[in-house]
C-alpha cells in the first residue's frame, strides 16, 4: 500500500491519502483508475464546499464517501459528473480526469459527461407519468434512439442488471410509481444503466429504504462493480463497511483520509476519522 501524506495549507489538518492499491506496488500493479481528482475546490457563491481534494478512484471498485452532514460529500459526488453546476453561482478549481480526460475542459459537453457518469439519488425519482418500461429507456430516446428492437433489448438488459426484471416483466406498461420504494430505486438504477455509463454515482441510495430493499440494492452494487466503477455517498457506516472497497472521509470540505475500507474501519490513520466512525465526533 502506498501512502501519500499531502501538504496541507492548514498545518493542524494532515490529510492522509492512500492510493487504491490492495497490495504493495512491488508485488502487484496498482489497479486502473477511473477518476483522478486533482486539487479540486468547489464554491457555492462565497462558500467553499470542497477544499483542495485530491484522490484517485479505482475502476471496477466501490468507493464510499463518508462524513458528517454538510461536509461536502454530495457536492464532491456531483462534481464527478458536473451535476453540481446545476446550482447557480457554482465555481470549480482543480481537475477531474475521467479515464484521463479532463471533465472540466471547455470542449467537454456536460450532457455527455452525465451520460458517461450516471447517477442515482437518495430518493427514488421515477418519472411519474411514464410506465416502468418508458422510465428505463427514456435516456436512450432522448439520445435519439428509435430502433424498437434495440430499445426492447436494452430495456430487458437494464432491468435484469438492476435485478428487477423478474419482478416487473409482466407489468412494464404500469406506472413507475406503482412500484414499492425499493423497486423504484432499482428502476432508477436500471434507468441509469440503460445508457451504458462507465461510472455509477449513488447519493445515499438506500437511506429511504427498509432493510430488505437495502439488502437488494447492496447486493446489486456488489454485482454491478464487476462492470462499473461505483462511487457512493452514505451516512451508514456499516453499509460503507459492507459494500465498499475504498472509503474517503470528508470533513468540512476537506479530505481527511482515504484508503482501503478494511483499513479505515479497523485502523484509521487519522484521529478525526477514528472519532467520526466510532461515534466520538464533536
Amino acid at each position: 500500500m502506498v501512502n501519500l501524506i499531502m501538504a496541507s495549507p492548514d498545518p493542524a489538518v494532515v490529510e492522509h491519502v492512500e492510493r487504491p492499491a490492495e497490495l504493495s506496488p512491488t508485488t502487484e500493479p496498482a489497479p486502473p483508475l477511473t477518476f483522478q481528482v486533482k486539487n479540486v475546490s468547489i464554491w457555492y457563491g462565497e462558500k467553499r464546499a470542497i477544499d483542495d481534494v485530491t484522490l484517485d478512484i479505482a475502476s471496477n471498485a466501490v468507493t464510499a464517501i463518508i462524513g458528517p452532514s454538510g461536509c461536502g460529500k454530495s457536492t464532491f459526488l456531483r462534481c464527478l459528473n458536473r451535476m453540481h453546476e446545476l446550482v447557480p453561482k457554482t465555481r470549480v478549481e482543480g481537475r477531474v480526469l475521467l479515464q484521463g480526460e479532463d471533465l472540466y475542459s471547455s470542449t467537454v459537453d456536460p450532457a455527455i459527461v452525465r451520460r458517461r457518469v450516471g447517477m442515482v439519488f437518495q430518493k427514488s425519482n421515477p418519472f411519474p407519468t411514464m410506465s416502468i418500461g418508458e422510465n428505463v429507456i427514456i435516456g436512450l430516446r432522448l439520445n435519439g434512439v428509435r430502433n424498437q428492437k434495440f430499445l426492447n433489448e436494452r430495456l430487458e438488459k437494464s432491468l435484469r442488471m438492476a435485478a428487477l426484471w423478474d419482478e416487473v416483466k409482466d407489468d412494464l406498461h404500469k406506472s413507475g410509481t406503482s412500484l414499492s420504494g425499493g423497486q423504484q430505486q432499482r428502476l432508477c438504477i436500471a434507468r441509469a444503466l440503460a445508457v451504458e455509463p462507465e461510472v455509477l454515482l449513488m447519493d445515499e441510495p438506500c437511506s429511504a429504504l427498509d432493510p430488505i430493499a437495502t439488502a437488494k440494492i447492496e447486493e446489486l452494487i456488489y454485482e454491478l462493480k464487476a462492470q462499473y466503477t461505483i462511487v457512493t455517498v452514505t451516512h451508514n457506516m456499516q453499509q460503507a463497511g459492507r459494500i465498499s472497497d475504498f472509503t474517503a472521509f470528508l470533513y468540512m470540505g476537506r479530505l481527511i483520509e482515504f484508503g482501503s475500507t478494511t483499513k479505515i474501519f479497523t485502523n484509521p490513520s487519522q484521529k478525526q476519522t477514528e472519532d467520526y466512525i466510532t461515534g466520538r465526533f464533536g
Binding site: M237, Q238, F265, T266, N267, T273, T278, G279, R280, F281
Partner: protein, 228 residues
Amino acid sequence: MITPKHILGTFDEALASLRNNVLMMSSLTERSLERAMKGLFNRDDDLCAHAIADDEEIDQLEIQIDKDGVAILLRFQPVASDLRRVVSAMKLSSNLERMADQATTIARRARKLNQHPPLAEVELIRPMYEQAVSMFKDSVDAFAREDVDLARAVVPRDQKLDDLNRAASRKLIERMAHDPEQLRGYLNLIFIGRCLERVGDHATNIAEDAVYAAAAEDIRHQPVVATT
C-alpha cells in the same frame, strides 16, 4: 490515551463494563494461580481447595464477557479501536479461563503431592512459576494500559519458560529412574511444569491480543527474536 466520549453514553458504559469484567477476571485468575502454587510450595491443601473453587467464578465471568461482547457487537456495531477492544476482550477472557483451568490442574496435582513426603525437586518449578506469572502480569498490564511496547516484550519471554520446562522435565525424568518409589510425585511435578508452560502460552496470546487492540497489528505466528 484519553478517548473522547462516545455520542451514546450507553456505549461507553457497555465498553467500560466489558473491560472491568476482563480485569476482574484476570485478577481472579492471578489469585487462583498464586493460591495453587502456594498450595504446592507451602503444602497447603486449603489454598489448593480455594484455587479449585475460584474456577467457577472465572468460568461465569467468561460467559458474561462473551455475552456482553456479543451484545455490544449487536447493538452498537463498533468499528476501528472500539471493535478491536471488544474482540480482544473476548479473546482475553478465553485465554484467562484456560489459565484458570491450568491453575485448577496445578492445585489438584499439588494436593496429591501433599499426601506424600516433600520432594526437593519442587524447587525446579519455582523459576517457572516466577517466569510464567511475570509474563501473565505484564501481558494483562499491557492490555489494560494499551502499552504496545510492553506487550511486544512479553512474547519472546515465552522461550525462556519453554527452556525452563524442558530442563526441569529432563531432571525429573532422571530422578524417576533413580528413585522409582517417588515416580508419581515426579510425574505430578512434570505435569505442573507443563501447566505453567501453558500459562506462558496464554500470556503470550494475551500480549499479542493487547498489541492488536492498541495498534491494530497482528503479531501472531511471527518469528520470535530471543531476548536474554
